[in-house]
Every structure is written in C-alpha cells, then in structure tokens.
C-alpha cells in the first residue's frame, strides 16, 4: 500500500510550501516513494477521526501498513531510516544528521513560529506592537546568526545533503524574507535546497492542490 499523508484541504499559505506536509512530501520525493494524500479541512483537524491520528489536531500525518505517525520530524526520520538517500552511511554522520533535524525543530523553528503566529493570535491584544515584533525579530536573528556562523561557506550542514538539511531549509523558509536576506549564506543555502529536483516535485504537488483558491468547505 502507498503511504498516505494528511494535508490541509486549503493551506493558509495558499500553496507556498510553508505548511509542514512539505517536509514529508520532500522526503518522500528524495527517497523515491510514491504516496497518496488525504485532505483535511480546518474543522476536520479537530474531529475525532483525525485526532486518532494526531492527538494535537495538526498536519501532516503519515500512514502505511498500520503504522500511523504524526510530527513532521518523525515522519522524515522514519523515511530516512528505512530508505537510502537522507542519511549518510557512517554511524557518526547519521547521528549528526539527526542532530540537525532536532536543531531545526527545537532550536531554530520556535522563534520563527512564535513571530509568525503572533501576527494572528496577538492581533488586537495590547501587546501587539512594532516594538514587540522588533523584539521577536531579534530572537530569530540570534538563531540565524549562530546558524550562519556555523554554515560558513559549507554547501550543507554536515557534508552531503541529509534529512537535517531538508528540515532546516524548510524551517528557514518560514522566516520573514528580509530577515533571511540579512544572512546571505543562509539564503543561498535555502536556494540550494529549493533547487533540488525532489524539492521541486514536492512543491509542485502541494501548489497544484491549492491553485484554484479556497474550496467552499475548508
């Protein structure tokens, strides 16, 4: 059976590839695994049927032969451990690739998502202010600065492209474009990820889904 991903029926980004199913889609393309998608509406995210797959009511989920996974990092790792192409073969290199996966979601992503969500959840709150967004931008900048210093002139985070790069590139894509542009080596790193054939296929697949605009019931 082909694996099934659950993805947004309508993505808040309208198909710019910022939703977390891009991580699973890109990984599936890198390892050459065909897949199906199941569309979930915003209302459907909180329905018992989807909650049984994802206790936190989000996307993506991954299902294959009775295994049900949520968390994009876990889905990418599952694919990386079972197919060649996303982890190096030497044990230390594998451990470091997994390390970068955790760094992406645990160290670099939180301030980026915090800022992004504040645009929506904090609107109308007394603390919604340019001063606060500048503060949030600085928190993102601190992470990007450290990552940029580590990356230097490297092509990828640790030798060959890995699941760690896949996760990091997609996390960085969620940062505001002007912020990312302050770190040219990170912007070029993201562009290298986007230039990969597997990325392009994954991007096109999700973009096609949302090209017609929001459906009536999303």
């Amino acid at each position: 059976m082909l694996p099934i991903l659950t993805v947004f029926k309508w993505s808040p980004d309208g198909g710019k590839g910022l939703a977390r199913d891009m991580r699973a889609r890109w990984a599936l393309e890198e390892v050459g695994q065909a897949y199906q998608v199941r569309l979930v509406s915003f209302k459907g995210l909180k329905a018992p049927e989807h909650r049984a797959r994802h206790p936190f009511g989000q996307i993506p989920t991954f299902e294959q032969d009775g295994l049900v996974l949520f968390e994009s990092g876990a889905i990418v790792l599952h694919l990386a451990l079972r197919h060649p192409g996303l982890l190096p073969s030497d044990p230390d290199g594998r451990a470091r690739a997994m390390m970068w996966m955790f760094a992406a979601v645990s160290t670099v992503e939180p301030p980026i998502v915090e800022r992004e969500q504040s645009e929506f959840t904090d609107r109308g709150k007394p603390w919604y202010s340019p001063e606060r967004f500048a503060f949030l931008d600085d928190a993102i900048r601190a992470r990007l600065q450290d990552l940029s210093a580590h990356l230097g002139e490297r092509e990828w985070l640790d030798g060959a492209f890995s699941a760690g790069d896949l996760m990091m590139v997609l996390v960085l894509r969620r940062a505001e474009a002007p912020l990312l542009a302050e770190f040219p080596n990170l912007a070029a790193y993201v562009a290298r990820g986007e230039a990969r054939s597997a990325y392009k296929h994954a991007y096109a697949a999700q973009a096609a889904l949302y090209a017609g605009g929001p459906p009536e019931d999303w």
Copy 2:
C-alpha cells in the same frame, strides 16, 4: 573512553533538574552508561571552544570517541539507538517512540519555554503584564489538554516506557506546577517518570553539583 557531557557550571534552577542536561543524564542512567561531565560557565557558553561543540552556545553537548553532538533530543536518540532500554524492539513501536520525542520538543515544549523565558526577557517591556501571562498559560493549556486526552489512563505514551516518555516527562516538568496540576493524569505521569531509579540517579547527580550554591565564576 567514557562519554563527556557539558553541563552548566551553575544551573539557573539551582539543581531542580530543569536544565536540558537532565535528558542526557537520565538516558545515560537508563542504559547503564557511565559518563563524565565538563562544567561550562555562562560566559564559557559563548566562547569559541564551546561554540565548536554547540553552534548555538547551549548545553548539553555529548562527546565520545570523536563524535560530538548537541541537542538533547539527538543525544537521547543516539543513546537509544545504540543501547537497549529506551526503544521498543518492534519497528513500528520504535518509530512511534521517536515520534513522541519530536512531539515533546517540537509541539509541547515551545509554549512552555516561551512562557518561562518571558519572565526574564520581557521584564520591563510594555507588554509584560498579567494579561499576557494568562494568554501564554492558555497556549500551554491547549497542548496539555490534548496530551492529557491522548494519555487517558495509560501508564506511558505508547506501551512500555521509552525515550519518548523520557523527553515528554522532562518537558512537562518545566511547565508551571499549578498548570500541570490542572491535568491530574499528566501530573501522575510525570511522577511515574520521577519514580524511576535511573531518573533518581540522574537527578541526584545534577543536584549534588549545585548544592553549594553558585560558584564565584559562573
């Protein structure tokens, strides 16, 4: 060679086991692996010598036989993949245990850490207010509610104790005590983790380090 962890020379929590080295310490105890520690001062975190180990200048790091890792999740996963005791033996169960590790650091931890850090970083800012802390508490509550609903009457998140539980228990310990107490099954779950012999050994080791109060140069 015994593995070496870098840990705080003086922990901001004074030894309550909330710093992220507890995750590595507990995992090492669960798999029966002795280790050494290297103490790092706050100033030392940002020094080139430590940055070479940890690009983001944090603790813990893990070193053994030339391998250097940062990210507590990656260190725990590395130990779990190389020693019995932290992952089930069936492939699907292993994938789900790793899924819970990602859920801990990527879904449950961010709002908890955001609230915790706001106490320090936002002090004196115009948005530092009871209203904002109530808002942050609600974001934590939403995650705890979903986790509590999933856990139900289960002892652990997915069958036997795993690295997923280890990470989740320590993430939950960082939530404010009154918040956690609103979800009695989560509080009991944390207590079950704390009752494990390996947890107790790990806790005692870090508490002993800080029992004398802050050293002169921390």
